[in-house]
């Protein structure tokens, strides 16, 4: 079956619902799925944040300090560390007045990958290219 492309589309704000967090952790699990697949089969996810889903992604989060739970920022960094494609909708960031340079990176962890702030047309293309689209 080869490479199956998936689009994980997050529409809910982080911390408001559990599923917006679960989208990230499910996407990250592509790193270990090969143990359950035949040789040569892979899953390639793209994690997309649109609408209210762009809320709660900013760097500088203190969730562990204040609530004792891992922050979305930490999860995003882990995504970048495992070379996951992360797209954040440019128009929606602008709508909420969130500067693009507030998006976290994982340079301190040695990741080359960065979040891509992309126009919605590019996110739509990722959805069209995917075999399955999962909305969270």
């Amino acid at each position: 079956m080869g490479d199956v492309k998936l689009a994980f589309v997050v529409q809910k704000p982080q911390y408001k619902s559990e599923t917006s967090r679960l989208a990230i952790t499910h996407a990250i699990s592509y790193q270990t799925v090969e143990i359950l697949l035949e040789d040569g089969d892979i899953v390639t996810p793209t994690l997309c944040f649109v609408g209210e889903g762009v809320l709660g992604l900013q760097k500088g989060q203190k969730a562990m300090d204040l609530y004792g739970i891992t922050s979305t920022e930490t999860h995003i960094k882990n995504c970048l560390l495992v070379d996951l494609d992360v797209l954040v909708c440019k128009e929606d960031l602008a709508k909420y007045g969130i500067p693009e340079d507030m998006m976290p990176d994982a340079e301190d962890m040695g990741a080359d990958k960065k979040i891509k702030v992309a126009p919605f047309s590019e996110i739509q293309k990722a959805m069209e290219d995917a075999k399955h689209v999962l909305f969270f």
């Binding site: 998936l6 599923t19 679960l22 952790t25 143990i35 697949l37």
Partner: protein, 119 residues
């Protein structure tokens, strides 16, 4: 016949979305399709055994047992379940326990995927 994988995330009680997911699975398996169900988020609490079916509340256990009997593969996210105090010793037998990559692996082999969102 096709393979359908359902990602089920809503809680058992509080809405009818969970009920819909199980009804849909039943309809698909009755038509001869292969069906997989992945529980994550609040849905992972529904794998606890000894549920009492009060008529004012949705119930999962008897429907899950029937689906397992019909060959539906049902798996819960282990981390999600144990975070809610449900573990293998107090869960419905026949439910599989695994990590999120189980869902991705089932998706890989599926013709259709329905992601049924939760809270």
């Amino acid at each position: 016949m096709a393979t359908l994988t359902i990602g089920c995330f809503p809680g058992l009680v509080g809405n009818m979305t969970y009920d819909f997911a199980l009804k849909l699975a039943e309809a698909a398996v009755n038509k001869g399709h292969k069906v997989n169900i992945w529980f994550s988020g609040n849905a992972s609490g529904s794998v606890k055994a000894k549920q009492k079916h009060l008529k004012d509340y949705s119930t999962g256990e008897k429907h899950l047992r029937a689906l397992i009997e019909k060959g539906v593969e049902i798996c819960t996210c282990e981390a999600c379940s144990i975070a809610r105090g449900v573990d293998k010793t107090n869960a419905i037998e026949g439910i599989q326990w695994n990590a999120m990559h189980w869902y991705l692996a089932k998706i890989h082999a599926s013709d259709r995927v329905l992601q049924i969102g939760g809270e």
